[in-house]
């Protein structure tokens, strides 16, 4: 039984969320500022959004970033799911310690180290820096996050479902695609989304591994921030936030609907 939710608890939650959300809200509000000064309100205007769409450099960078994020998130989801399966299903094989180390270490590794080491690898094998190298770097980083997300779902997976399918004669590969995959699908989808946003967001690793033709949006934003804070950057940030927020809300609604459907099915099955 849960005890009362005290006033102290409520206050700390409200203050905590205010701290988390206020800076983002202010950023969005000031993207609609008429004045060129970011922090002085000069009336409502959407002119920064208009000028944003005429900024060719920013538009190019957005296109590069979107492609890198989609490709790297997709490959990372496949590799990360395989890594999660390895971690949960194959408990003893040579080098398992090393493998789990290589999956967990990138989660906390400072980005400057990962970025530098990947760049030196690409130079050593003679790969030109550009679109391909950024994508490879992002796959390596994000597959570990996917692995952790999918792994936690596999942990709670009821394996008797698989055993039942195999007892009925389904070969393991078929069992995987017909039983296991549908059950862990929500985790795979959220793994993909996490990989996508991490790639969309990354400045440090992209700066090390990218070449002249492949400037990503964070790199572009960063170089503009260094020159000074402008409402145009606020507008670009607001659009990015909106895209991610819409994606997350759609995904969680879809998840909820699936959950409700599942409960209904279960109830129907029990009524028989």
């Amino acid at each position: 039984m849960n005890p009362t939710w005290s006033r102290f608890n409520i206050t700390s939650i409200v203050l905590g969320f205010a701290f988390l959300y206020l800076p983002i809200v202010l950023l969005v509000v000031f993207s609609f500022n008429e004045s060129k000064l970011v922090t002085v309100w000069g009336g409502f205007s959407t002119k920064w959004y208009v000028s944003l769409f005429h900024n060719q450099g920013l538009m190019d960078a957005t296109w590069v970033t979107a492609r890198v994020a989609v490709i790297s998130a997709t490959v990372a989801t496949v590799l990360g799911t395989l890594a999660a399966l390895t971690l949960t299903r194959y408990t003893r094989f040579k080098g398992r310690m090393l493998f789990s180390g290589m999956v967990f270490a990138p989660l906390v590794m400072p980005e400057v180290i990962t970025g530098l080491s990947l760049l030196l690898l690409f130079v050593a094998v003679g790969l030109d820096r550009g679109f391909l190298t950024v994508t490879l770097a992002h796959i390596t980083l994000t597959m570990c996050f996917v692995a952790v997300v999918v792994q936690s779902r596999l942990m709670t997976f009821d394996r008797s479902l698989e055993e039942a399918a195999m007892d009925l004669g389904a070969p393991p590969v078929k069992t995987f695609f017909q039983i296991t995959l549908p059950v862990i699908m929500p985790a795979i989808v959220s793994g993909w989304m996490l990989a996508f946003t991490l790639s969309l967001d990354d400045l440090v690793i992209a700066s090390f591994t990218s070449g002249p033709g492949a400037t990503t949006l964070p790199m572009k934003i960063y170089s503009q921030v260094r020159l000074g804070v402008t409402p145009e950057i606020n507008a670009a940030c607001t659009i990015l936030i909106a895209v991610v927020a819409v994606g997350v809300i759609i995904a969680s609604l879809a998840n909820k609907r699936r959950e409700v459907q599942r409960q209904r099915d279960e109830q129907a099955a029990q009524r028989g």
């Binding site: 950023l27 906390v108 690898l121 990015l240």
Partner: protein
């Protein structure tokens, strides 16, 4: 795997026994691939790069492409390679340990990360505690609200603070207008701004493990303590806090390790007056184009962090065991 093989053998008729043997071989091969593909990927893109970083940290800077010497290769045969190996030296490391700038940067980074971690824990604990005691129907929403900022760009969230902390920024406008201060506070481009930036950016990493530890807790323990006359504060320190310790450790490591090598926050909020090792490495690489020295900086940073990283790994493995 063996279970499946047995089932496959018993259910298949003698006529297609040959086919099922082939299929079994196929299944075993697929099972191998599941391990091999991610394994090889991580060895090639995660492990080998570290070996290369280590090797280049022993090289010398050169005006060439790539900008270091020697470039190891079999171009001159085996004896040529041996000659090249002899050129490797630990000069970069002696230089790093003798230059006060680098030593300072390492020490400051560890101190800044440690202080920030404690601050994040102090801010995050009451939030996680409040969430864990919230009505069960409200918890998924609260959890979602903690995760949501994590989905928005790190760079954007750090950028947002520039507008707030600037001398003519929103915080100073508010404080000046309300008469709390007469002079604008100088926060941007100081260590205070870095602390704020790290606490803000890494807060979800602290709250999530704390919440999952606190949520699992059995509250009847607290009630029992209360019934036996234990005051709330000592009940907290004797029961709640020790039980949440796995979450505290995981959260602190998740904040501390990346914070030591943080680049974006010290660069955008700390300005040129603050010194942190992630920024030093970045400048060494991008401004000075000194690849061997930046590699040496990275190797020492990695050595500093190897113990916390191994602790993190062990904590993860233990959490995994408990879930089973």
């Amino acid at each position: 795997m063996s279970n499946a093989a047995v089932t496959a053998a018993t259910t298949s008729s003698a006529a297609d026994a040959g086919k099922s043997a082939l299929a079994r071989l196929g299944e075993a091969f697929v099972g191998r691939l599941v391990i091999i593909i991610p394994y090889l990927w991580l060895v090639f893109f995660f492990l080998i790069p570290f070996v290369i970083v280590f090797k280049i940290s022993l090289s010398q800077t050169a005006i060439a492409i790539p900008p270091y010497t020697p470039v190891l290769g079999f171009g001159d045969g085996l004896s040529g390679l041996l000659d090249q190996l002899k050129q490797l030296s630990i000069d970069n490391y002696t230089w790093l340990t003798q230059d006060a700038l680098y030593v300072n940067a390492y020490v400051t980074s560890v101190i800044v990360a440690a202080i920030s971690t404690v601050l994040t824990l102090l801010v995050g604990y009451p939030i996680a505690y409040g969430m864990a005691r919230a009505p069960a129907t409200l918890r998924p929403t609260l959890l979602m609200l903690v995760i949501l900022p994590f989905w928005t760009s790190f760079l954007i969230r750090v950028y947002a603070w520039i507008g707030i902390l600037k001398p003519e920024g929103l915080l100073n406008q508010l404080l000046l207008a309300s008469g709390v201060i007469n002079q604008p506070l100088i926060i941007l481009n100081t260590y205070t701004a870095i602390f704020i930036g790290i606490v803000y950016s890494y807060l979800p990493f602290m709250v999530l493990p704390l919440y999952s530890a606190l949520e699992k807790m059995d509250y009847s323990l607290i009630e029992a303590a209360k019934d036996l006359g234990c005051p709330p504060t000592s009940a907290f320190w004797k029961i709640t806090f020790p039980l949440s310790l796995p979450g505290v450790i995981a959260g602190c490591l998740l904040v501390f390790i990346p914070a030591v090598g943080e680049f974006v926050i010290p660069d955008l909020l700390g300005g040129s007056q603050t010194l942190m090792i992630g920024k030093t490495l970045w400048n060494e690489f991008f401004a000075n184009r000194d690849w061997p020295v930046s590699s040496a900086v990275a190797v020492i940073l990695l050595l500093l962090l190897i113990v916390p990283i191994m602790l993190f790994q062990r904590a993860q493995a233990r959490a995994q065991e408990q879930d089973k």
